[in-house]
């Protein structure tokens, strides 16, 4: 199986060579790992490798192929590239280039003000929306000059993490 770490720009080939109970032999790219792995509570794993003890939490973020994994020091985003993912990717090539046109909110909050309407021209750096969350207001600006294709939110509305607020043409 292929696993991708987009932020680390890494794609690893993973294979389980052996598994009996909590004993696993893994092959990642050209290295093999003999580990002992148990799930101690939902999504939390205890892993022993060469005597070292690791606590790792695997959080599925979308379906069962995208994960955020927390280790002691760092979080990683991973995607498991199964057959279905490969198929979907092959169909969507090019379409994802669209994402630069969307102003998304990274966290849940409440829309305080919207400064543009459908069809407005905007310039790079212009504030489009103000969102408030936890006593802090954040401004969302246009990354480039352009035209507002669609405003998807209105003041007073509650928005979810990753929700699209404005689409530019």
């Amino acid at each position: 199986m292929e696993i991708e770490l987009p932020k680390q720009e890494r794609t690893a080939q993973v294979e389980i060579l052996e598994n009996e109970g909590s004993h696993y032999v893994f092959k990642i790219d050209d290295k093999t790992f003999e580990i002992d792995l148990v799930e101690v509570s939902k999504g939390i794993y205890s892993l022993l490798h060469d005597g070292k003890s690791y606590n790792v939490e695997a959080i599925p973020t979308k379906g069962i192929t995208k994960y955020t994994v927390n280790t002691f020091f760092q979080s990683f985003d991973l995607e498991i590239i199964d057959a279905q993912t490969k198929y979907l990717r092959s169909r969507n090539t090019g379409a994802t280039a669209d994402s630069g046109n969307m102003i998304r909110v990274p966290m849940p909050g409440k829309v305080m003000e919207v400064f543009v309407n459908d069809g407005d021209t905007v310039t790079a750096g212009q504030t489009l929306v103000i969102v408030s969350a936890m006593k802090m207001e954040s401004e969302y600006k246009s990354g480039r000059d352009g035209l507002v294709k669609k405003v998807m939110v209105k003041p007073g509305e509650t928005v979810d993490s990753d929700q699209i607020m404005i689409v530019l043409e």
Partner: protein
């Protein structure tokens, strides 16, 4: 006697107050907004009543609604916590009118200390050093220029009714004086309905050091030593400690005496805090008085052995304060870290959401004051502080080591928190040496914002675990194709109408 206390607050401070009430045999009443039905303070209290929709100004700031609940459930007293109505003179006044004890100072004292010019005047009168500046309102343009130049640049123009950084302007050059004056005035007018401003000398990167005081209604006033609050980001404290690594025993005693004088000068009653600016030459100046419990009060409790909430309640009940100044000795060293739901590596952006897993640090020298639990969804309407971690050590170095250990044990997943950033502060040389002021974070951006990068093995470990978890879930899906996915919220299933 106080038998029932309504806590007009939420989050960790509501729990903290209720814990002391429970230990005193006092029953507790929670009030909650629509966003807080599942919040811990509602579950912890003996009684709980809804007071309105999620936004604070429709719930936690609704005085009359809260008073109505207090009367209905026959509460003897109201504890306001910090924030919300805690420094609201009108609320203190309304409690008095309704015959309910307000656990905090009188409306008169809140008013005096809330107006910065009148507070300055009181301090000057009673011999407490204030930041060089003027007690006068700035009236004409000429007078303003003269006053500023007399004090010497840089200065800070401040709104008398001010707070939260509004109506404030830093002036570094002469030509900025008049534009800044006008700016400060119009902002103050808009924010507080009062355009009175005054001017103070600007101290670059000072220390923020505050003294805790307790005063009963019989004129007995003591201080409980200082808290060093100079580790700040965006003017918000995130780490506090006591004793301050800066102060000498002589300066501590002197500042303590001035703090007691400051409280006496206004006839203060209850628990309060005198904030000082201190420069690196140990010159100190009265900054303001907080007429409530502070977020960081637990470090004082740890080194003095005094439960400040219990003392607040006893004083409010009209009892004599039994602690003498000579009883107060700082034992060892305490540090507090504030845990926020925020992303330190993305400009401290708030990170509300659902708590997936929670492991609190335990063992020797550790106190946690929190309120979230596994499965709890942190609402977007309120302060992102989710807990306070307080540690104690026989000396400062040990306290830092305990804090590092406790931060390492503290696991909150599902949201981002300030824990990794706090760990980096505990590793910072300036902090470890105790040689820091309010410039600490700005002066250490390089190391504080550089993420500790794990070697390749962390990635490999993550890959293995994600892969095994994926295979397990896939197998489960094949066995039970309709099992809902874990990302689906349990909350979407409520409200099924009548049966």
């Amino acid at each position: 006697m106080i038998k029932k206390v309504l806590v007009a607050n939420r989050g960790e401070i509501a729990l903290r107050v209720m814990r002391s009430c429970r230990e005193m045999g006092i029953s507790t009443v929670a009030v909650f907004s629509a966003a807080d039905r599942t919040s811990q303070h509602v579950r912890y209290a003996d009684e709980a009543y809804p007071i309105g929709p999620a936004p604070s100004n429709e719930s936690y700031l609704k005085m009359e609604k809260i008073l109505e609940v207090a009367k209905k459930c026959q509460a003897d007293a109201i504890h306001p916590g910090y924030g919300f109505l805690s420094e609201n003179a009108l609320f203190s006044q309304r409690c008095r009118e309704e015959g309910i004890i307000f656990i905090g100072p009188s409306p008169e004292v809140i008013n005096t200390m809330g107006d910065k010019i009148s507070a300055r005047e009181k301090m000057v009168d009673s011999g407490v050093p204030v930041v060089p500046g003027t007690n006068d309102k700035l009236i004409s343009d000429e007078q303003a220029i003269k006053v500023v130049l007399d004090i010497g640049l840089p200065v800070m123009i401040k709104a008398s009714a001010g707070g939260g950084g509004k109506g404030m302007r830093l002036v570094k050059e002469e030509k900025e004086i008049l534009p800044s004056l006008r700016g400060a005035r119009s902002e103050a007018k808009a924010a507080f309905g009062n355009d009175t401003v005054y001017v103070e000398k600007f101290v670059t990167n000072p220390h923020h050091i505050e003294f805790q005081i307790l005063a009963d209604s019989f004129g007995h006033v003591i201080h409980l030593c200082e808290r060093e609050c100079s580790v700040q980001r965006r003017h918000q404290k995130i780490v506090e400690e006591t004793p301050s690594p800066l102060l000498t025993p002589e300066i501590r005693e002197q500042m303590g005496r001035h703090a007691v004088q400051a409280a006496r000068s206004v006839g203060y009653e209850g628990a309060g805090t005198i904030e000082f600016l201190v420069d690196n030459d140990l010159n100190y100046y009265f900054l303001e008085m907080n007429t409530r419990l502070q977020v960081e009060h637990p470090i004082t409790e740890r080194v003095t052995g005094v439960d400040l909430v219990k003392e607040q309640i006893r004083i409010a009940a009209g009892e004599h304060l039994k602690i003498k100044q000579s009883d107060i000795i700082q034992q060892g060293h305490a540090i507090e870290c504030r845990i926020y739901a925020e992303d330190p590596d993305n400009n401290f952006m708030p990170s509300p959401g659902k708590i997936r897993h929670l492991t609190e640090p335990l063992g020797l020298g550790v106190r946690v004051d929190g309120y979230v639990y596994e499965g709890y969804e942190i609402p977007i309407y309120y302060d992102p502080m989710i807990s306070k971690l307080i540690v104690w050590g026989a000396h400062r170095n040990e306290a830092i080591e305990v804090m590092k250990r406790a931060l390492h044990e503290y696991k909150i997943t599902g949201i981002k928190t300030s824990i990794p950033f706090l760990e980096r502060i505990m590793e910072n040389t300036d902090f470890i040496l105790g040689q820091y002021d309010t410039g600490l974070i700005e002066n250490n951006r390089d190391t504080l914002f550089n993420i500790k990068v794990c070697n390749l093995s962390c990635q490999d470990v993550s890959i293995m675990v994600a892969y095994v978890d994926h295979l397990r879930r896939r197998d489960k899906q094949l066995e039970h194709p309709s099992t809902p996915q874990p990302s689906e919220s349990a909350w979407k299933k409520t409200g099924r109408g009548k049966r």
